[in-house]
């Protein structure tokens, strides 16, 4: 993605498209270990986000991300509403006033998002949640900042790390949310929240 305001808006649009295309898969994953509404909920949330984007077309990146967050909190309905809502709100706060982003800015925003999800969900790594996709992606970005990688390459590596992280939830025992009610039966299923989180990272590097 180009790291200016237009690039961020395009990323949100592509994320909404990816959620819409994958909604049945997300719901099916959630049906296996949750309440079977993750795809529907996220699709409803991002449909609402798309109607709000024109209002912030001229706003700074922080304002755009905060608007996404507030919209998700009020429209998604499931736990992913407050969790992704907090992620976008925290990222928006970290990037307040920015018109474009360096790789270090992208890292700061995503680190704030991860910290927000961890605080809101009281979740740690290895508990079969979206943290298991976001945290490895943030680690990858950190390494890229240290190596002074190009933004595009860094985001590509982060997207792969998020996808690998989502796959790595399959053998995990769920410790959070409805899936935790299933105990051992939550094993051998990929976490829907980690799966949708990986879609957001992939959307940063697709469709250019």
């Amino acid at each position: 993605m180009a790291a200016d305001r237009a690039g961020v808006l395009a990323w949100i649009r592509r994320s909404a498209e990816a959620i819409h295309e994958q909604r049945e898969i997300l719901t099916e994953l959630d049906r296996e270990i949750g309440d079977g509404d993750h795809g529907t909920n996220m699709d409803r949330g991002f449909a609402a986000v798309m109607t709000k984007l024109p209002d912030v077309a001229d706003a700074d990146i922080g304002t755009i991300l905060k608007t996404v967050g507030m919209t998700l909190v009020s429209t998604v309905g499931g736990a992913s509403g407050p969790l992704y809502g907090t992620a976008f709100l925290r990222a928006g706060t970290a990037l307040a006033g920015k018109q474009e982003l360096t790789l270090a800015d992208a890292l700061a925003g995503l680190q704030a998002a991860l910290d927000g999800v961890v605080a809101r969900g009281h979740a740690e790594r290895g508990e079969k949640t979206m943290v298991d996709a976001i945290a490895p992606a943030v680690d990858a970005l950190k390494a890229s900042v240290e190596h002074d990688d190009a933004l595009r390459q860094a985001l590509e590596t982060a997207a792969t790390a998020a996808e690998d992280g989502a796959k790595a939830t399959i053998p995990m025992l769920a410790k959070k949310g409805r899936a935790s009610y299933l105990g051992e039966r939550s094993i051998n299923h990929q976490d829907p929240g980690a799966t949708s989180a990986a879609l957001f990272f992939r959307a940063m590097v697709t469709g250019e």
Binding site: N41, G77, P82, R178
Partner: protein, 136 residues
């Protein structure tokens, strides 16, 4: 004025039902508000609905917020964080079971107890024995 109650549930009908049930115990003395379902009435929870329910029942005597599952607690936490501090400190988020907690909280509030007392009583609902054969 008495401590107000906010009932947050994934289901609009469940929230309204709990308000009805707990309200019956409070004989009109306690203000209760339902925040059930998403804004379009589907199963889920809505920050808007929780904020507006708090606004409906708020008084300086306080508000106890009761929740059903998962996202209801997360949304309620977010709602509290958005309130101004002078309002925030008169509101407690309860970990009590929704139905039992709401009923005992409504009774406690109806006799004029403080927010802390209402919250403590709601918490005792976690230990309620509902079926005689389960009693030790």
């Amino acid at each position: 004025m008495a401590v107000g109650l906010v009932i947050v549930s994934h289901s609009e009908r469940l929230a309204e039902g709990v308000v009805e049930l707990a309200g019956q115990m409070a004989s009109g003395q306690v203000r209760l508000a339902a925040a059930g379902g998403t804004d379009d009435g589907s199963l889920g929870t809505s920050l808007n609905k929780v904020l507006s329910a708090i606004d409906t029942v708020y008084s300086p005597d306080g508000v106890l917020v009761l929740v059903d599952l998962g996202s209801a607690g997360l949304v309620a936490e977010m709602a509290l964080e958005q309130l101004p501090p002078d309002r925030r400190r008169h509101i407690i988020l309860s970990e009590a079971p929704l139905v039992e907690g709401a009923v005992v909280a409504a009774v406690e509030s109806s006799i004029g107890s403080s927010l802390d007392q209402v919250a403590t009583t709601a918490r005792t609902a976690m230990e309620m024995n509902k079926v005689a054969t389960n009693q030790a």
